[in-house]
Amino acid sequence: MADVPEIRPSDPRRSAPRVREPRRTIAEGLLRVGMMLAGLMVGVGVLGARLLSGQPLGPIALLALYLAVTAFVFGLNGFAFRRLPLGWGPWLFLFSAALFGVLFLLGYLVGGVAGPFVVDAANRVIPYVKLADAVFYLFAVMTCGGAGGCAFSRNIIYSAWSLLFALLGAAGLYVFLGADFPAVVQVLVYVGGVLVLILFAIMLTKQIGEDPKLTNTHVGFPAGIALALVTVATLAYTAIMAPWKVVAERSWEPTASRLGNAFLTDYLLPFEIASVVLLAALIGAVVIARKEIKETSDVAL
């Protein structure tokens, strides 16, 4: 077994010896199945009692739900997640706490959106989350998650795809703000033009990915995260505490024709300057990126 020659010795997963998993006994399997069923029954029972009585979830019910999720994860770990290192240790409780958080958030959103439809009007009618708010949070999470992936992904291709989600989420936020024409321009110009250009530039250049340390040597990820936290805290404090003069009325009228009128009357000079800038930028890009043919070059391009 150990004398078999390695075909690809550079691949660490091939060269590593295979670890045999310990055999699971029937008693352990029955225990895990029992734990899984018990967790499922406790969770369904607590949720059903809460739904029938119309009472909000207390701390005891939340603790019971957490223990039910933990038991379910422990039972499921014997079958589907056999590779996860989840024994009786703290990792099991951490993993189930994370899963419980995700499930709680999902239940919160679903209960807020669909709550008035499934529960009697006499029982409880106040939803936590309105549908428009849920849509906003969806777009906001999409935007911020895409930006986070763009900032923290190791692979530059993944960063570009995360940037796609950030740009699409921003377009959704524009629609949410009644700006239909900027949203369409965002999708057309950014997703259709700039992102394709970035992907071309990534694939035309050699990656730096040979060494795993992809950040620069002067400012690493800890300093970057500290910088992000400080900036977000400052800007969010300003955004929340500043007395913005918010007008009461909103408009969701189509804005394309009025934008065209504005571009051709009030903003005619910036419009023309922008077109000249675009022309100059395109000519300059062609001139800069033109491949120079040198006789002395011995690199086959």
């Binding site: 911020c144 900027p182 700039v194 970035i198 977000v232």
Partner: protein, 105 residues
């Protein structure tokens, strides 16, 4: 009536801006730095359109006009910046911004 107000959008813009700044500061790949610049410009755009919707009121479109200008200039910036990146790559065979510190060959 939705309960989402102006600070929500401003906070999204702040998160976009700070993540873009982190991208610009920590990346070594020149294309990654340009992607961070795009994030920062998008943060500015979100703020422009949010202020146009919440502060300026209906019938006035200054924020949207400036967001269109920002998108136009971002497209021009991306074209020229990526052309410069390609030229640097043809000259130095790398786009690591820590190694490209000469304007000549």
């Amino acid at each position: 009536m939705s309960s989402i107000g102006l600070p929500h959008f401003l906070i999204v813009g702040a998160i976009l801006f700070s993540l873009g700044m982190v991208t610009v500061v920590t990346r070594r790949n020149a294309v990654g730095i340009l992607m961070g610049v795009e994030l920062i410009l998008n943060a500015a755009n979100v703020n422009f359109i949010a202020f146009n919707h919440f502060v300026e009121g209906p019938g006035r479109l200054t924020g949207q006009v400036f967001s269109i200008f920002v998108i136009v200039l971002a497209a021009a910036e991306a074209a020229v910046g990526l052309a410069i990146v390609l030229a640097i790559y043809q000259t130095f065979r790398t786009i690591d911004v820590e190694e490209t510190d000469l304007l000549r060959q």
